[in-house]
Structures are given as C-alpha cells and as structure tokens.
C-alpha cells in the first residue's frame, strides 16, 4: 500500500494526458445515463471491444469516467419525465419531477448535477485515504473467510437486489452452478460442459453478461414505442441561463447536505449488492428524517433532489472499494469492470496495491478528474442531452443488440459465444419477466470459480476436513452475519404480513 504524494501526482498527470478520453467517456456516460433502462454496465459492454483492445490504464480511465457520468446522467429523465434513467436516480423523481412541474426543471437539473459532482468528489477523496486501512483488513481474509464472504455477497445481493429473496437466492445459486462449468482446478476434468469443448475454460463471462443484461433489456424495451410523453416533449423545450445560475446558487447554499448524503452513499456502496438505488432511497429518507420541514418532501424541494443524487454518486466510489480491495464486485458495473480487468490480467485484491498501486488509486483520481470535467460540460449540455430519450425504442433496441454482439464475440473470437449470448439473453428475459434477479445470477457466475478455488484451497490445507470452514473466529463472525442477513428480511416480512392480517381482521 504505497500511497504517496508522487503516486497521486503521477495518476493526476496520467489522467490529464487522457483528458480527451475522459471528455468523450463522460459525454457518452451522461447520454446513456439519461436513457431509461440503459445503464453504464450496458454501455461498457457495448464498448467492450474498445476496453479490451486498449491498455488497462486507458480502459480503467474510460470505464470509470463513463461509470460516474452515467450516475449523473440518470437524474435527467427522473427530473424531466418522472422516468429514472437508472435505479440510482429513482428517488430523484420524488422531488425532481414536482420541481419540474412547478417550472423549476432547469434548476432541478443543475441541483442534480452539482450534488452529483460534490457528492462524488468528496467520497472519491475519502476513498483514497480510507483504502489503505480497508485493504489492510483484506490481509486477514484467508480462503475460509473468503468462502463465507463470497456466499455472503450472493445472499446480500439476492436479498437486497430482489423483491423476493427466495427467487434472488435461486438465481444466485444457479449462477454459482453455471460458474462451476468447465475443467476443475486440480485434475482439469471437464464438468457440466454438455460436451462442448468451448466450455472447458468455463462459461465466458462476457457472453453471460451481454445475454442477461443487454439482449434481455433490448427485448424488454420493446414494451413501449417511446419513453416520452407529450408533457415531457414540452418540458424539454424549456431552457435558459438564468435558471442555470439559480440552480448553482441553490446547490451551494446546501453544501453540507451534499457532503453528508454523499457519505451515506459511500458507506452503502461498500456493501456488495447494496447498490445506488438503496443508497439514494436511504439518503432521501435520512434527509427527510433530519429536516426541519419533513412535510415538504415530495412536493419539490431542493434537498429532495440533492440527497439522492449525492448519495447515488457517493455510492459509485463505494461500489469500487470491494472490487479493488477483495476482488468482489459491489454492483453490476463493478462486475463488468472486474471482467475487463481480469481479461487484462490484473489481479484484484490486496495484491493490486502492491503490484500496481497506481491502478488501484488511479481509479479514484480518475473519478475526481471526471467529476471536475463534468462540472464544466454538463450544465450547458443539459437541454440537448435530454432530447436523446426521444429516440424510439424500435430503433434503439436493434442498435443495442447489433453492437453488443460484437462485444460477445471479440474476446475469444468463437461463434459459439454468440449462440451462448443468445441463450443467456433468453434466460435473462425470462428471469426479468418472472422476478428472478439477473444481477444475482451474474454475480453467481462471476463468484462461482472464486468460490470453488477458495473451497478447494481451504480443504487442501486442512487435509479435507470440512470443519475448517468453522475454525476461524473471523469466519464464524461472518457466518453469523450471513445467517442474520438471511433471517432478518424473512422476519420483517413475517411481521409485516402478520400486521396486515391483524389490521384486516
């Protein structure tokens, strides 16, 4: 963990030498973020051939810039159309849309951009200085603890990311089993490959990713011919510099509010699976709880826009911490980044900070630079960016499919991977229509090989004694936490059902 001023300065210089790339990536990210149902993960997948073709530093700068920009862009449609661009900006609808209805749409957009920038920058800075301590903890994570953490990640994602925990767990464990396809770690004997030699190396993650996210999303998108309503069309025509300046003033009158809600986002983001949507709603709830005028929330007040947007972007830093420190992705985009970094041969986890500290810390430096760039580019662009949602979905969906298929083919150049992508596209579609969480499925596929490797390592060290999994104090604490995380949602649900039954009786 060699954190030094010169290291940070080098990373700043590296980022400034790729400023053109950051400008492009943030612009794309904002445009994509403004498109409902089409998040940063899908965009990175679409541009996968680029991220795989360039150097790992460049790929990271591009992905991180796009990631943070999409978090910011998601608020545009929430405010103007009451349609969240992504899950993280769903809470922004609560006060952003009423502000727009009151004729304060421009101010609300500026509030959203400034809060995103401040929240994101503060948490990125905090992450740089917290990482050495968090990463040190990772040294105490041996194979036994890692097994529990990996299972914990699956159960957390299953319980937090889905409405129905049982369905989330089924999707997660199905993903783990799919991840166990391929040659085993010790004898290299193929397992569950259906006889396909292309699966001996395991299921290609990029094919799974593109199938369950991009293809299924494109199919779901066809439900609506357009994402816009007539009112939305009218609202987009409103613009003016005076309103923009008013928004800037409103934002900086609430600087402390932006900071503390951003920190909430950071903390929630560190928990694997608890993504930006949870962070934004928790921050909104906390903001209302500590407000002197809680009754005004939901009627269109600046704090109601600032809290979720700042937390949403604070969560972006938090999402990347478990990815970098222990190699477990905190969310969907982090999972995509994991795949790209693995493809480039980057070893994530504590070793990253020994072997390539520049890359580890560089992620957060990129965030700072990207937010600074966005502060100057987003405000004047607002009125044009928001017009992108006018593209009809029958045009958008085929474009998504056509270009993501290139990403599925590029890494291994097997036609087989394209067919696999379509298969996972169909599975992803059924999952989405029936409430099985695709994030849990994907995380399962990613974590499957890691789980097996750690299970095998622990068993080998202990001489095949299964009790080894309950031999470590840290591991046992984690087992208890896992059990509690599984039990609490069920207890809460049971109590809620009971209360409903009593009220009905």
């Amino acid at each position: 963990m060699n954190l030094s001023f010169s290291l940070l300065a080098d990373q700043f210089l590296l980022n400034f030498s790729y400023l053109w790339l950051i400008v492009i990536a943030t612009t794309i990210g904002i445009i994509i973020g403004a498109m409902p149902g089409f998040g940063s993960a899908n965009t990175i997948i679409m541009l996968l051939p680029f991220t795989l073709a360039v150097d790992v530093d460049v790929a990271m700068i591009f992905m991180v810039s796009l990631f943070v920009a999409s978090h910011m862009g998601g608020g545009i449609t929430s405010i103007l159309l009451n349609i969240p661009g992504n899950g993280g900006s769903a809470a922004t609808c609560l006060d952003g849309y009423p502000m727009a209805k009151k004729g304060l749409g421009q101010q609300a957009l500026v509030l959203s951009f400034v809060a995103s920038t401040v929240g994101g920058m503060v948490t990125a800075l905090m992450s740089i200085f917290l990482l050495p301590y968090i990463a040190r903890l990772a040294y105490y994570m041996h194979s036994v603890e890692m097994v529990v953490i990996l299972l914990f990640g699956i159960t957390l994602i299953a319980s937090v990311a889905s409405d129905n925990m049982l369905k989330g767990l089924i999707a997660g464990f199905l993903g783990l089993l799919i991840g166990a396809i391929g040659a085993d770690h010790i004898y290299s004997t193929p397992r569950g490959t259906f006889g396909f030699i292309e699966l001996y190396d395991g299921v290609p993650l990029i094919a799974v990713l593109i199938g369950v996210f991009a293809i299924s999303e494109a199919l779901i998108m066809m439900e609506q011919s357009s994402v816009l309503s007539e009112t939305g069309m009218q609202m987009m025509k409103q613009s003016g510099w005076k309103e923009t300046w008013e928004g800037v003033v409103m934002s900086f009158q609430r600087t402390w509010h932006m900071i503390w809600t951003g920190i909430i986002g950071l903390i929630i983001g560190i928990v694997p699976g608890a993504g930006a949507s949870i962070a934004a709603f928790v921050a909104y709830q906390q903001s209302r709880l500590y407000s002197k005028t809680p009754e005004k929330y939901g009627t269109g007040i600046p704090e109601g826009v600032i809290a979720p947007e700042s937390a949403n972007n604070g969560c972006a830093s938090g999402d990347l911490i478990p990815l970098l420190v222990i190699g477990v992705p905190g969310g969907t985009t982090a999972a995509v980044m994991l795949i790209v970094m693995t493809y480039h041969g980057v070893q994530l986890g504590p070793r990253l900070f020994i072997q390539n500290p520049g890359l580890g810390y560089g992620v957060f430096i990129t965030m700072l630079v990207a937010y600074a760039v966005m502060l100057f580019t987003t405000l004047p662009l607002t009125r044009w960016v928001s017009k992108l949602v006018m593209i009809p979905t029958p045009v958008l969906a085929p474009i998504i499919i056509a270009f993501t298929l290139v990403g599925a083919f590029a890494p291994r150049a097997y036609m087989f991977d394209l067919w696999l992508t379509l298969l996972f596209g169909a599975i992803g579609y059924v999952c989405r229509k029936t409430g099985f969480n695709v994030v849990a499925l994907l995380i399962g596929v990613i974590l499957g090989p890691m789980l097996e490797a750690n299970v095998m390592r622990a068993l080998r060290i202990s001489g095949n004694d299964p009790w080894v999994f309950f031999s470590s104090p840290v591991g046992n604490i984690l087992w208890a936490a896992l059990a509690i995380s599984l039990a609490i949602p069920s207890i809460v649900q049971w109590r809620r059902n009971r209360a409903t039954r009593i009220a009905a009786a």
């Binding site: 089924i170 999707a171 464990f173 089993l177 166990a180 085993d184 298929l405 083919f409 379509l422």
Partner: protein, 167 residues
C-alpha cells in the same frame, strides 16, 4: 409470482427458471458422478443448496395454490399477443443475423439485421431504413473492424474493401 389479480399471486411462468435450474443441477451432478471428491465438492454444494431452495419455492407455491392465494397463469411472460410478436420478431432476427455471420461477415449481417428491424419494428420506409442501417453498419465496420481490429468473420463486403484499399 409477479402479477396480482384481486390480491392473488400469479404463478406458472415463475417455474421456468427453477425448472431449468433443477434440470441443469441434475445434469451437473450426473456429469461429475465419477470424478474425484475434490473435483465435485463445490458443484455438489451449489446443486444441493439450489435443490433445497427450489424445494422451498415449490412448497410455498403448493401451499399458496391450496390456500387459494396463488393462481396459475403464463401470460406474464409475454403479456399481449402484439408484444409477443414484436419481441419474437426481434429475437428471430437476432438469431438469423448470428446464423449468417460466418459467410456474410459483420457489416452485411449487421446491415440486414438493422434494416429489417427498422423496417418491421419501426415501420420506417425502405429508403430510410436502408440509409440508417447502412450508416450504422458502416460506422460499426470502421470502429470495430478497421480501428479495433475485432476478429469478426469477414464477408464479401470486408473482402471487397480489403481488395480495393488494402485495409
């Protein structure tokens, strides 16, 4: 269990994923039956937990059906006939486009896919669909094949361009 009718939970289509999961887990266990213990421990663990979860899911559904809180339906998978046709057309076009890639190459397969998708799904005029699809396919060719050198199968277009320009 994703739809409500008079407060009841719809089930039926929900059984596709657990069904697939159970079938795959059974096949997986069969495929590893002769392997050494180390090679199957992780898979057995995941498969057993998956069976357990599917069992709980089944139990909940059966109890729900018996109590009358659940009802069987499959419509949630495709909703309306019109939507099912649109989605089916898009997916079929995608399958066809992948099938022709080995001999048509990236540019022509992408052009045909986008052209027919715009023509049928967006009801564009043939001229507009051809121009839009052509521009996108050409843009994709320049970005992915020429700039990024993606090893996509080459077709008549790529070979023609290579022969004419040496690119």
């Amino acid at each position: 269990m994703n739809e409500n009718r008079d407060g009841k939970v719809a089930t039926g289509a929900d059984w596709i994923i657990p069904g697939l999961g159970a079938a795959f887990a059974t096949y997986y266990l069969y495929s590893i039956k002769d392997l050494d213990w180390e090679a199957k421990v992780s898979g057995v663990f995941c498969a057993v937990v998956l069976f357990l979860l599917i069992g709980i899911f089944a139990l909940r559904t059966v109890i729900g059906l018996a109590r009358g809180t659940h009802y069987v339906e499959w419509r949630s998978l495709w909703e309306t006939r019109q939507l099912a046709i649109i989605r089916g057309a898009l997916f079929a076009l995608t399958v066809a486009s992948v099938a022709i890639i080995p001999w048509a190459g990236f540019t022509i397969s992408t052009f045909l896919f986008l052209f027919f998708a715009f023509l049928w799904l967006q009801r564009m005029s043939a001229r507009n669909a051809a121009i839009t699809a052509g521009a996108l396919a050409l843009g994709g060719y320049i970005l992915f094949i020429l700039i990024l050198r993606t090893a996509f199968p080459t077709g008549p277009f790529e070979r023609l361009v290579a022969a004419l320009t040496g690119l």
